[in-house]
Amino acid sequence: MKGVIATAALAVGAPSIYEWLRLSRKPDLQYLVSRKKLIGELAETIIPETDSPGAKSAGVEEYIIYCVSNNLPRKEVNCFIDGLHKVEHYCLKKYDTTYEKCSIANKNEVFSMLPNSRLYHNNNFLKKVDRKFRGRSFFTLFRELTIIGYCTSEPGATKGLAYDFVPGSYESCISLKKNQKAWATK
């Protein structure tokens, strides 16, 4: 009986100790900076250039690199870096090229493999516990940083969204017009 408990403890404990070590190591920020192009391409896949500017022309990659290296907890920084590694490996293995050179269909496919890479995908309670201990997943982090970076950038706020530098009067309720852009300021 003791042996069974010990084995079970080891089975649960060993991977989580490994996981803890992986997430609390010193982040390789040089790698992060060196993958600026890849980050830009990933962000561009989320917000592509259309009649409004895309993520790359809004300089989202600069913001993401700054934010990841200065304003994220260490476990999320490592999670982010591991995610970039994963994308690079996946593209080399599956499409035999870098992410930047993949076709648009392949780029979208890479994203669809990302959110499923975590366990307990549909259980809200386990998801919360997981987030508490391991932080946000690579996909969630990347998506959030891209959207914040885009909506607060000059091209994103002024051309992608509606930005009013000096709103002037206070209007509590304005009805949306058809095809109206969202407001850039909260």
């Binding site: 304003n71 907890p73 607060t152 950038s153 706020a157 930005y163 530098f165």
Partner: protein, 98 residues
């Protein structure tokens, strides 16, 4: 010995009394923001012994360096900053870089 103890006690009490007088106020206003400063002024005018506590630097009228900036001109784009959260877990909820 007994006398000495008694004497030192009375000196202690004297100091205590002086301290109590200098740190006792009729009103203490925490924060000299938009309403705190005004409240302190009114309390003083009503003749109350008032203490106004403010942890920020002194701001003179016209000294608003971030008032005319846009979100992209801030390093952290007005998002919560992890260093602030660690230093001031509660207060950091209500302030940002601006």
């Amino acid at each position: 010995m007994h006398l000495l103890k008694k004497k030192s006690e009375s000196v202690g009490n004297q100091i205590k009394n002086i301290m109590n007088e200098s740190v006792t106020y009729d009103a203490i206003v925490i924060g000299s923001g938009i309403s705190g400063g005004w409240a302190a002024k009114e309390l003083c005018e009503k003749g109350l012994k008032t203490l106004l506590l403010e942890r920020g630097r002194e701001v003179k009228h016209g000294d608003y360096p971030t008032a005319m900036l846009s979100p992209w001109q801030f390093k952290n784009r007005l998002q919560p900053i992890i260093a602030d959260e660690e230093e001031n877990p509660i207060q950091s909820i209500v302030y940002d870089e601006s």
